[in-house]
Subunit: 170 residues, 2 copies
């Protein structure tokens, strides 16, 4: 493994000459947090690994936003959008710890110009008054800021020709 210095790059990587985080075209507001079993150092690399390891998680919504989950139900599948707030944002070509350099938009790496993650999860419990949703699995650090919840819909979230294996490695 080639360790990457905080402000440096590994061989084969390409960085922007500016920080996209300092060029805000629009602002996002954190509507809650995701509670997970994971701390730095033990976080699953992706949602598939999180499902395999088990443990579940909880979505906690701020009081102002709780009326927004009234029509969700246990058993329903949702997309969670969350903000990977520790990630650097300037690497357009990056080298995973084990592997060759890859272009950022072919990776699910948290290091990307806009560090927004998308996770397809199942709601296991709901308490609208407390503003909480239990979820089957999640791959983020505990207390990761939440941006959005959307119903997951097979008719729009699965490309029509996608009944085949993944076209790209994870």
């Amino acid at each position: 493994m080639t360790r990457r210095p905080a402000s440096g790059i590994r061989p084969g990587e390409t960085a922007l000459d500016f920080d996209p985080g300092a060029r805000a075209d629009a602002g996002v507001t954190f509507i809650g947090v995701i509670r997970s079993p994971w701390r730095h150092g033990d976080c699953p690399r992706n949602l598939r690994e999180a499902r395999e390891r088990g443990g579940g998680g909880t979505v906690w919504l701020g009081p102002e936003y709780r009326a927004g989950i009234a029509d969700l139900a246990a058993g329903q599948r949702v997309l969670l959008l969350y903000w990977m707030d520790g990630a650097r944002r300037d690497l357009v070509v990056q080298r995973p710890s084990h592997g060759e350099p890859r272009s950022v938009f072919s990776l699910r790496s948290p290091a990307r110009p806009n560090p927004i993650a998308v996770a397809a999860v199942t709601v296991t419990a709901i308490d609208p008054a407390a503003g909480t949703l239990g979820i089957d699995a999640i791959d983020c650090y505990d207390e990761t800021p939440l941006l959005d919840i959307k119903p997951w819909l097979a008719s729009v979230d699965v490309p029509p020709d996608a009944a085949v294996p993944d076209a790209a490695p994870p």
Copy 2:
């Protein structure tokens, strides 16, 4: 249809007493735009309808970000994240033009605290030098700001138990 005044609400709707767009916890940067056939008034209601109507679209990346698509390929499926910049952000319970009031996080409506859309599309062509990706379909207005491109992966983007019809209406 109950027309909603720009600053008003329809019967049954609930609005926040602040504009989430004025409470930025973090900033997003626009990395490009999506060119689509759609103008205000003729935009498909969702990606399924866009696929049915046909027409495709083009993703255009800013010059700084073009190295980030080098490892994508035609035929690959990707998630596009884009910013629905015309939408109001304060409705936590909203009433679609035809229907009963629904909580925002059970809808895919563009009107939401963080107006970030997620679309699962297929890359039909790629020109890394020009920074363009052809895509099979898209449900946004022409020139919608782009936030991110991620590889779509069945192993993470389809919930494990999801070989069943949608649990919620679109």
